[in-house]
Assembly symmetry: C2
Homo-oligomer: 460 residues x 2
């Protein structure tokens, strides 16, 4: 097996050809949301399978009820190497509104800018540019003596439509896809110069509550006073869910919430994150969450309870003197650490029931529940990937988190019992899903080098 320097040099030599290959992939209009582009999606899958085959993979396109999957396997040059699964998606978002694009979204352009060249096109970042960083790393290994790890590549074509075929496909192909660790390339760097690994994703419990009182809407002149108002009951429940320090008051809610290792906490404190600017951009000035936590902690590592929607009574123009028979609200709980979604749901429902006055009933609907996903901070794979990224970029790799969810990571955990390293080279300003999507050329080139270093480090 070649030294890592040889592999990196090969990647650099391949730069122009690599960019041409990415452009070829981008030109395929693999929009998954519009059935009119189903054929283009199939073309993209074929293109990728052929690429992988050319790099020594045993690759195939697998039909699903929707867009096809691509799966490829390649062995390491040596025996007993670790076996990684790489995940990316070849489907892209629609391009509307087309008139806001400065160039044809499917005719990729390399655009000069003061801070470096950018690849502009639909899918340049999300996720064709990202996934091709890994393919190019594999190519360099292939051309210099072989892969350091056993590699399974898994490309999906329905990520932008909510991955309807994915759970069944994973369930049907568990033994083929369940590897030592997953490498998921669909996230961002901390900034243009600083790599990041996303190690925590908050979980989610989605609950809807309908509070009912009278058997029908009542006239507030005739019944106002004695009639129980379900909007008031619901408001009291919502008001009582937080204390005046921003903490959630559900009994047992913080069970399983873990504190950050001091090293991570210190890294977060030292990040050049401008909380004021973050809030100001959306018209806010003061964080509203737990008052003893920083904004980054509030988003990344602390659980929340929010009402996402509420409705009851008359909501049209003007007024109506109605006492409604019911009122309802949708609640979401973001979970962290080892919080148990079932326990949170149970605690919430018990809390609501305990708040119901005479003559009120509560009806509950669950809209989903998933635990937080946390890669153990002590994970050896994490430490190796982090060192590899730090070496490539010359900046300490940030171990960040995501306040939202990345469904495929949860599916890998649930269906394949596999942890994921979420590593990507996108930037917050890449305009994914929007006109003039771009990917930094440096992300593409150094992304490929990063994967080479990571695969090498994982195999050491």
């Amino acid at each position: 097996m070649a030294s890592i320097d040889t592999v990196l040099q090969k990647i650099d030599e391949n730069r122009a050809a690599a960019l041409a290959r990415l452009f070829d992939l981008i030109r395929i209009k693999s929009i998954s949301t519009d059935p009119a582009y189903a054929e283009e999606c199939a073309r993209a899958a074929d293109w990728l399978a052929k690429e992988l085959t050319g790099l020594g993979f045993t690759a195939s396109v697998r039909a699903t009820a929707g867009r096809p999957m691509v799966v490829g396997h390649a062995k390491a040059a040596r025996r007993d190497a670790p076996h990684v699964l790489f995940y990316g998606h070849y489907d892209v978002q629609p391009v509307d509104p087309l008139d806001l694009w400065k160039s044809d979204p499917f005719d990729p352009q390399l655009v000069d800018a003061a801070d470096g060249q950018k690849i502009v096109a639909r899918g340049a970042a999300d996720d064709k540019g990202q996934l091709m960083t890994f393919v190019e790393a594999c190519r360099a290994f292939h051309e210099t003596g072989g892969l350091p790890c056993d590699v399974t590549v898994f490309f999906e074509g329905e990520e932008e439509t909510g991955s309807p075929s994915l759970p069944q496909f994973l369930a049907d192909n568990r033994s083929e896809l369940s590897r030592d660790i997953a490498l998921v390339c669909d996230t961002n760097m901390w900034n243009k110069a600083t790599p990041a690994i996303t190690t925590m994703l908050r979980g989610l419990v989605l609950e809807e509550v309908v509070i009912r009182a009278a058997s029908r809407d009542l006239h507030s002149g005739m019944y106002g006073g004695p009639a129980r108002n379900p909007i008031h009951v619901l408001a009291k429940i919502i008001a009582d869910l937080h204390d005046d320090k921003g903490r959630v008051k559900l009994p047992g809610f913080y069970d399983g919430v873990t504190e950050l290792p001091e090293e991570i906490a210190e890294q977060w404190r030292n990040l050049d994150f401008d909380a004021d600017a973050f809030l100001k951009e959306v018209g806010l000035s003061l964080p509203a969450g737990e008052e003893d936590r920083s904004v980054l902690e509030q988003i990344w590592s602390r659980p929340t309870c929010d009402v996402n929607g509420i409705v009851g009574g008359y909501t049209g123009q003007g007024s109506k003197t109605v006492l409604p028979a019911q009122a309802s609200a949708k609640f979401s709980f973001r979970l962290v650490g080892k919080q148990n979604p079932q326990a949170v749901q149970d605690a919430f429902r018990a809390f609501v029931r305990a708040h119901l006055p005479e003559d009120c009933r509560a009806e509950f609907h669950s809209h989903g529940a998933s635990p937080a996903l946390q890669l153990p901070f002590g994970s050896e794979a994490l430490a190796r990937a982090r060192r590899a990224l730090t070496a490539e970029w010359g900046k300490d790799c940030v171990l960040n988190a995501s306040g939202g969810s990345i469904p495929v990571v949860g599916l890998f955990k649930r269906e394949l019992k596999m942890d994921s390293l979420m590593i990507g080279f996108g930037l917050d300003d890449d305009r994914i899903h929007s006109p003039n999507e771009k990917y930094e050329l440096s992300s593409f080139q150094k992304g490929a080098r990063s994967w080479a270093r990571i695969l090498n480090a994982l195999a050491e």
Copy 2:
């Protein structure tokens, strides 16, 4: 002038003809909500003006932008008699759904029942039957020596459409319509055997509040924690508006709320009102208002605060992880006694502003404000009308109240500075606005006798 017994005897002699006249009026399809019936409304107005003319009134039909008004004046047999204004409305509700009627709604039927005969038709009670009780009383006076009071009769044809022409008409005809007292005949008896005068109407302050936080809707994964949630802010405001004894917590809210005279309070306590049945009929079992007040007090003589509608965030099917930029609610305050609507509005807005955390703004919309209307319990006219009704029905006349509003009474007070005696002979089960509307024959016959006694008593 004839004795009251002579007048009452004349009313009894006229019974059959009086019913035939009411049936003639009912047959005119004076539906005010549907322009297709404008001609029928005009016919009803003409019919009434002609009736009044036949009874010695100087009567005329007055055009408005909508349906015409009818105004008639008649002098008392003696000088210096009090001058009353009688109000009723000749327009009726639409008849849909027609297939639920057991007979043609405009072909009045006298239907036998175990508890007495009923007149069944659209408008039988609301308000043709009611207003004709007064016309028949006037006829009996006319046929027996003249009226005891100066009488102005005022019939409206737009009550069922919210009286759009009424305020201007009153303003334009103040000196002609402003009399010593108004007799408004559009309310109910306490029960089939017990007369009632409605002496109190609750006032109303209608406020809408929009709470805004972030400049746009936010993703709860990316912002959940630090982002202020306006639904939570609104819920806290609503929750804080009442204490745990059901009292409204707005500072100064109870200023001007007067206690009932003990005589009235005792009458209410002794009424055969089944609070349990009243609540049970709408699926409730316990009154939710001020805990030291009876249900009748809560509806009739105590002020309230209710949210009539609330909306914010996502309210469709399923879930959406959104932190909304705004949430809004519609509030209504029912006022009693001398509560000042402006002071209540001011206190409410100050209360909301005092509850706003950092980064939140409140926008207010008023949807109307009107004070409570209360006929002074010491009023001489009230005492005389009450004695007259008690004499006719042989049961102590109830001085009740209405939790809702009767707009014409407020307009008479504001535009004409005139108090109203609200006296009517309807029953709660008259099905006004519904199929098979009915009016008790006893209400029609004894109603006419009641008015004769009342006019006589007011003139004494």
